[in-house]
Amino acid sequence: MSEPTDQKRRNFLWGLASGLGAAGIAGMAVPFVKSMLPAADTLAASTTEFDLSTLVEGQMVVIAWQGIPVFVVHRTGKMLERLKGHDFRLKDPESRADYPHVGATWMKTMEQRLTRSIKPEYLVTNAHCTHLGCIPLYKPSPGQAEWGNSVPEWWPGGFHCPCHGSLYDLAGRVFDGSPAPYNLYLVPYKYTADTKILIG
């Protein structure tokens, strides 16, 4: 033997090599894992713009956002009036349920809780029924004249889901007796101009 084994130096070098090696492998894993997160083109398609001025009064459209159908309704003054006076029939009139997307950070005034919108005229919600996901039918006129027995006689106008009978008012608030547990989910949106919204 030329010199005694410097075990301390060996242990140090083993430790250092292992530490650096582990760091290297972890570093190498990062881009691979990240590659599985949504790609740039997917993210670019993650917002949808919509020009509200294309809607006439009383009109409802369903548009796509991230592959999800979204209701956009242009409500008249009369329709907004019909949101009042039936709180006792609603499961969650003020959208207070502790569940994602029932309320929104912009819901600051009681009027906004009533209309469930940033501006009263335009409603923007997820079009999936909160029961099992069917898309409800738009039945805006009050009473049974247009809709027959599919809606109750006190019907103020709103949405009716044909799958299992859930009923919502013109702000997407769910009525008692519906199998759906929550009001129609809200989607994140903001106004980029007076009549333009950006969803997502």
């Binding site: 083993w14 090599a17 090696g21 881009p31 691979f32 990240k34 590659s35 599985m36 997160l37 790609a39 740039a40 083109d41 997917t42």
Partner: protein, 404 residues
Amino acid sequence: MIERMLNSSVAQWLDERSGIVGMVRKHLLDYPTPKNLNYMWNFGSLAMLVLLLQILSGIFLAMFYKPDAMATAGGYTVAFDSIERIMRDVNYGWLIRYIHAVGASAFFFIIYMHLGRGLYYGSYKKPRELLWIVGVIILLVMQATAFFGYLLPWGQMSYWGATVITNLFGAVPVVGDFINELLRGGFSIGDPTLNRFFSLHYLFPMILVAIVVAHLHALHVVHSNNPTGVEPSKKGLIPFHPYYTVKDLFGVGVFLIVFCYFVFFNPTGWGLFLEPDNFSPANNFQTPAHIAPVWYLTPWYSILRSFPDKLLGVVAMALSMVLLFFIPWLDKGRVRSARYRPVFRQMVLLFFASVVVLGYCGHSEPTELLKTIGRIATAVYFGFFLFLPIVTKHEKTRPVPQDV
């Protein structure tokens, strides 16, 4: 620390039910290895590393790649579009793609060095003939894998390279046309070809892993050769761990520096790894001015081109690979390592040189001068196999050491 892990209760539990601790000790830690191995012995572990890298990067690329030759705007295809999407939109997609492209070339470079080591030091000689044969099979499976993979980007070189090579198989008498149609799935290279090549490109590496396991098993039965070619006595053996684990890790470090230089600073490899023509979308009405396979297939291509007759060229090319299998029996010398065989040494170095020259010729435009040089190199290449049995039967060798 390894000892602590091997003696832990988890390890004991596993060992009682699988023998894993025993295997790790026998084949990785205590495995007796000659103490005089030089750095030419690092290429085996490097090959395993690159195989792993290719499989890893390949699996991730397959999450985004679409094997569809349907036309899209600009003369492109869904397949070509999907690769550009990987390069531009997938997070770090460009990195994964470059790892795979550079890795393919790295894999062949390493394998050629590994093969060269085997030839020079006589690692194919008894009792390692089977080890050698399995190794040559690995080379062939690698070449097939690379061939399938190269079609996938659906660039000009992809399309026309595949056209030329499948036509080669078509030259085989009797069954040629059938094989050709089987490979293509149609009358020419097209969407069916692309889909099946994608499937085969994913399959062949799995076959490769199995063959590599067989290769390692065969190795562990006969144990490694060493630069002297002399079987070591007990004094000449050291345990694989820590000596060769540490030396292999150092080799990995050096390799990764070179590899990452290419991936990050020169991913096209001066146009050798990612060829410019392959950034042009495949156009079945226009052949590129200059078709050549990727550099690692050019030596065999050059041999093919050396013969004016189509069938003769194909036979010669096939023979150039098949002859490799027979080296353990063509070499009749009794001394293993070229270190002590001056005549054999010249022959084998000349052989290496001929492969390099063939590679250069195969990659370049076939001018009259290069055609002549290519033919000379082809003669040298086959001359090696031809003269091996004659020369080695009577060669004068130098005295061989007693031990390593």
